[in-house]
């Protein structure tokens, strides 16, 4: 039983995700001609929020109080189960494509319920928008990774990664290229980045993710922000692991794991920086145009699945 890998993955994702957000904000600031608050600012924000007074608004129920915990817990489970650092892990049996996507969706649904639970106009609006986007994104996520699993004959993420490690040429196959575009759009929508949602907006009417968490304060807000950063890391990590699994350890030796952790950090940082640079050039899409974008990515996912049968 290799329990070192899941623990290491959780530590890397939990500790590194605020730094990833810090790097992305810093890149954006530099491109906008600003100096930026530094890479460590998200950790400073979290430290301060954890020391603040917890406030729950009048009229909210247990759903509101439990949502941050469920969101963080589901994200940590996904971080532990996915084959980020090694393909042999104690959690390998549950690192199933459907299980990981379902666990991540559970977090999104619980946060939407919490947004409804506040009873405010913006909370409900954010929840309804989030659910609209999630309902369109989930099929694409499943379809794109399903296209990759057809050739392997298994929906186990570890098996898909191992197959790609043994045959790196697969990455450049039409199936893989179609799937990577579909999955990238789905990941951008699911993590609430431009052009679907603007993570730094102050305008309540345009918010999606932010509108649901407007009522959180203190330690609860810290947990939600931290979990959101971890979700971003997990989704970018999945993208990197499925399409560029290079550096992932096949044995569980400490040196291989350390090397894999460095490779994982490098890949996720490169993806994050690319996303931050792209965001500078993009404006937010009108909400009614978002389904068009997501339908396009679903079509690419569908083509990837079709190609995986016909071009196999």
């Amino acid at each position: 039983m290799n329990v070192v890998t899941p623990v290491a993955q959780v530590l890397v994702v939990a500790g590194g995700s605020p730094l990833l957000v810090g790097v992305m904000r810093q890149v954006r600031a530099r491109l906008e001609g600003r100096a930026g608050p530094g890479v460590g600012q998200p950790w400073r924000d979290l430290r301060k929020l954890l020391r603040k007074e917890p406030i729950t608004p009048r009229g909210t129920s247990e759903v509101f109080r439990l949502a941050p915990l469920v969101l963080a817990a589901t994200t940590l489970v996904a971080a532990a189960a996915s084959p980020f650092l090694a393909t042999t892990s104690a959690l390998d049996p549950i690192a199933d494509l459907f299980a990981v996507v379902a666990v991540l969706t559970l977090g999104a649904v619980v946060l939407a319920l919490a947004g409804l639970d506040t009873g405010t106009a913006f909370g409900g609006m954010g929840a309804s928008r989030e659910m609209t986007i999630t309902a369109l994104v989930e099929p694409t996520l499943l379809m794109a990774t399903f296209a990759l699993s057809v050739r392997v004959g298994s929906t186990n993420l570890g098996a898909i990664t191992t197959a790609t490690l043994h045959d790196p040429g697969r990455v450049l196959s039409p199936v893989s290229l179609l799937a990577v575009v579909a999955l990238a759009v789905a990941v951008i929508a699911e993590t609430g980045r431009l052009p679907v949602d603007n993570p730094s907006t102050h305008l309540e009417l345009t918010m999606v993710h932010e509108a649901m968490i407007l009522e959180y304060a203190g330690p609860d807000l810290a947990l939600v922000e931290w979990a959101s950063a971890m979700r971003l890391t997990v989704f970018l990590g999945l993208l990197a692991t499925l399409f560029a699994p290079f550096g992932i350890a096949v044995t569980a030796s400490p040196s291989a794991l350390a090397l894999a952790a460095a490779a994982f950090a490098l890949k996720v940082t490169v993806l994050g920086v690319a996303l931050a640079v792209a965001e500078v050039f993009l404006a937010k899409l009108r909400l009614f145009r978002v389904p068009e974008l997501l339908a396009g990515s679903f079509l690419l996912g569908l083509l990837a699945v079709a190609a995986s049968f016909f071009l196999a």
Binding site: R34, A35, G36, D45, I55, M207, L214, A217, L221
Partner: protein, 161 residues
């Protein structure tokens, strides 16, 4: 997109070099925030002159964000309220409720002469008083309107950076 990229390359960094950190020890509330201050701006009856200067303080040139201050969308996310303008009758209750919605430790920054002592609106029939008459004010920034430099310096006194 290519044109925007060329413009980014040509413009480079527009943020001015950071001036020396304002002297003086941090207040007890500011020290507990540890270099990260989320700010909710409340317009209690301002003419929007101060808002323009606040916008400028958070713009690329003065970049108050580099010192750890950030504007947020909800008082529940905030550590500090940035209140501008003389408090009008209609804004007394919303201002108090906003203050109550902020989790402690919290502080109030009064920006501009109107927020400090009602300025030219002193004694007007729609005005209740200065921000200090309604809420405990920790820091006040004089000026009509205050310069972005003065606002940034006041915020640095809270973030300590």
């Amino acid at each position: 997109m290519w044109r925007l990229w060329r413009k980014i390359r040509k413009t480079g960094r527009v943020a001015e070099p950071a001036p020396a950190r304002p002297a003086g020890p941090l207040t007890s509330v500011a020290a507990r925030l540890g270099g990260s201050v989320q700010i909710r701006h409340v317009d209690a009856g301002s003419c929007n002159g101060c808002e323009v200067e606040i916008g400028s303080a958070f713009g690329p040139v003065h970049d108050a964000e580099r010192y750890g201050a950030r504007l947020v969308a909800s008082p529940r996310h905030a550590d500090a309220l940035l209140v501008t303008g003389a408090v009008t009758r209609n804004m007394v209750e919303p201002l108090r409720r906003t203050y109550d919605a902020v989790p402690g430790p919290k502080l109030v920054v009064a920006v501009g002469d109107c927020a400090r002592d009602c300025g030219v609106f002193k004694g007007a029939y729609g005005v209740v008083g200065s921000v200090g008459d309604v809420l405990p004010v920790e820091v006040s920034v004089p000026g009509c309107p205050p310069t972005p430099e003065a606002i940034t310096a006041a915020l640095r006194g809270i973030t300590g950076r």
